[in-house]
Amino acid sequence: MVLEVKKPRALWEIIFSTHHTDIGLLYIISSITFLMMGGALALAIRAELFLPGQQIIPDSNTFHRFFTVHGTTMLFLWAIPFGAGIGNYLIPILIRYKDMAWPKLNAVAFWMIPVGAALVWIGFADLGWTAYPPYSIIRAPGPAAELWIFGLKILGLSSVLGSINFIVTMLKCKHPDLPIMKMSLFAWSILSISFMTLVAIPTFAAALIMLYTDRLGVTGFFNPALGGDPIAYQHLFWFTFHPEVYIFLLPAVGMLYEMIPKFSRKPIFSYQSGVIAFLLLSTIGFASWAHHMLATGMSFTEKTVFMVGTLAAVPASAMHVFNWVATMWGGRIKFAAPMLFGVGGIMLFFASGAGGVVNTALPLDFITHDSYWVVGHFHLILMGTVSLTFTGFIYYMFPLITGKMYNEKLAKIHWIAAFSGIIIVFMTQHILGLMGMPRRYFDYLPLPEWIAMNQIATTGAWIVGLSYVLMIYNLLKSSVKGAFANMSDPFNIGEQYYDYRRREPHH
């Protein structure tokens, strides 16, 4: 594969490199691979639910394993590594330093990902990605559950190491002529999530160890039979994973700040408001974790506090949306594929954010909680906003990485299919949830409206799946046979592209 414009290199040189662009590329390629693997599981799940009764997955246990590994893969092997990969590739360029602060640590952080991924996929556990006890302690079969625990432990450590590296790179190695308030908003997004990772991950890391010793039977932290409290785990889990939602989201927000002004041929409406919104989200994001647990029997006061905490995070997200729309307002917008994906992401961000307000409004939460509404809601943010924007950024970065241009027509077909498919699947799932269908169901009641909704959702999912196969074809073919890109302005928008000539010596 051609990885550098003028000078192709042997594969092993890239694999064992510690240079930030090589590691960034490894992150990007492996995360796209995991996106396709996790997507295959999702398509199998949707095919199973096309009709009530057992269809293509032999039994409910296998089905539970499918959705567990699907969720774990998409969150920890696609969303996080992709953000880290683009960060690796771009942050040193954006802050004008030769590499990441600690290149070897960077390589170590990356190589922990395949190890963690192997554990998760070999184990193929049935815990659900949340691994709630007591099920995960007293019922989930080993060694799958143990492999999952250790896999996530390693993935968590990897993202902590990556975050430390990002923070030090940005705060210590930034070019002296570049003040922090002139730093790209994408760099700000990575800086915010790196701090969030350092605060959030240790809680879950501790919970994982407790879960493991509980499984060994030597402790009873979460086991009610030994005096433990299963709800305590949920608090530790969501203290990590609600902020983690922003850790998935903010890189996409940063990427939109990279793309929107360029394709609108206008400066960002308000740089300061973008920075403030990042800082607000990364702090208020820690005040809402228990809105995932409103139905566990919390007191009225607790529920009120977490509802308020959740609503408080909304204005900051709204500031970002306002900023993008105001940037586009009156601009000469060029709807190349990256921009289309970006705008699609913004539209669905608004939709999923509004759905989130419904979820947290107390009486309504008990209608939507653990139903297909919730499945639709978080997929709308993760697939609709995060993954669509990431996909747009893959196309945006493609000339920088390969020196070639992708096929614009195929990329636009991809966008139409992916965007409409995502709406078909996940909006339908919202309705299905309101009709009362719970999530994580292997089989469902043969009610005509449930069957119809499931069939629409399955069709949409397959459209999305096929569109991503088209993307892989486009990327592979274009990187080998594509036309050489005009590297100073590959999208013909008259705006500065990244400095492709900057090639620091490899270590």
Binding site: H64, S273, G297, V308, P315, F322, P438, F442
Partner: protein, 289 residues
């Protein structure tokens, strides 16, 4: 934020105002609906892998069926005995987790009679999707009948779902005289055949029925001993989706330590697979000669 900041401030103020309104309205509604009326009658709800059991205030117990009266407030005390479940009646938007070691409460007054679905909404393992029960809302009984309200509720229960008390007593006395090993695979002359549900059978992969393949002569009576602590059934068919399931023979729920009896005189000769409705991975086969 100099210059064009004003538009943004107006926008943020509008968003914040909407959110405050949503929050205040939600708080107010939730406050009202969480207030349990003083005369609400308590029903204990227990979730277990993978069935619901209910206990009324007068001690009446029901499994996978719940009979309540219209226009009467009920307070549900919900818990679980193994893993997390969630008690959910979608038509009445009742939903709260059933967590072992905790009692969560909900209340409701059912204002329309009919049959409603009770389902589990928190992932709980193998049969999560099949952990369902039925809620029967019945018209309010008159003053005279109210005194024997509990009997009214039990008599409307379909007999197939309720283990007969006499049957239980009979078979318990039989159980003491039968060896728990029960490896008799064919009918012993004059005696019954015993099918034992082993301890730990509810855990997937453990030995379940003993013997797994049972051969009897037509007309034999099979005593089913449940020596496990969990409730089980012996129901004909391969699984719940089998259309003939429960048509040939069905013990319905046998609680831990109890017994039941299957009369094979009405079962055709041939091999009949059977399973446990609560734990569908427990399977066996009955051959009638």
């Amino acid at each position: 934020m100099a210059g064009h900041a004003m538009y943004e401030w107006i926008y943020i103020a509008a968003v914040t105002a909407i959110l405050i309104w949503v929050g205040a309205a939600s708080w107010d509604v939730e406050r009202i609906i969480e207030e349990v009326p003083a005369d609400a009658e308590t029903i204990k709800v227990i979730g277990q892998q993978w069935f619901w059991s209910f206990e009324h205030a007068d001690g009446t117990k029901e499994v996978n069926e719940l009979h309540v009266q219209k226009d009467k407030p009920y307070r549900f005390e919900i818990t679980s005995l193994d893993v997390n479940h969630a008690f959910n009646v979608p038509d009445w938007t009742l939903m709260i987790d059933a967590v072992p070691g905790r009692i969560n409460t909900l209340w409701n007054m059912f204002t329309q009679d009919g049959e409603y679905l009770i389902q589990c909404r928190e992932y709980c393992g193998f049969s999560h999707y099949n952990m369902k029960a039925k809620l029967f809302v019945e018209p309010a009984v008159t003053e005279a009948a109210a005194e024997s309200g509990s009997t009214a509720a039990t008599t409307t229960t379909p007999p197939a779902q309720q283990p007969s008390a006499t049957q239980q007593q009979q078979s318990t006395s039989n159980a003491t005289s039968t060896a728990a090993g029960g490896n008799a695979t064919s009918a012993a002359a004059g005696g019954g055949v015993t099918l034992t549900i082993l301890e730990g059978a509810s855990i997937q992969g453990s030995p379940d029925y003993d013997p797994d393949e049972l051969t009897v002569k037509k007309g034999d009576k099979i005593t089913v001993d449940n020596v496990d602590t969990m409730p089980h059934t012996v129901t004909n068919g391969k699984s719940g989706s089998d259309p003939t399931s429960g048509k040939l023979f069905d013990t319905s729920i046998i609680n831990g330590g109890d017994s039941a009896e299957i009369d094979t005189s009405s079962v055709d000769a041939g091999a009949h697979p059977f399973y446990c409705m609560v734990h569908p991975y427990m399977t066996g086969s009955l051959t009638v000669e």
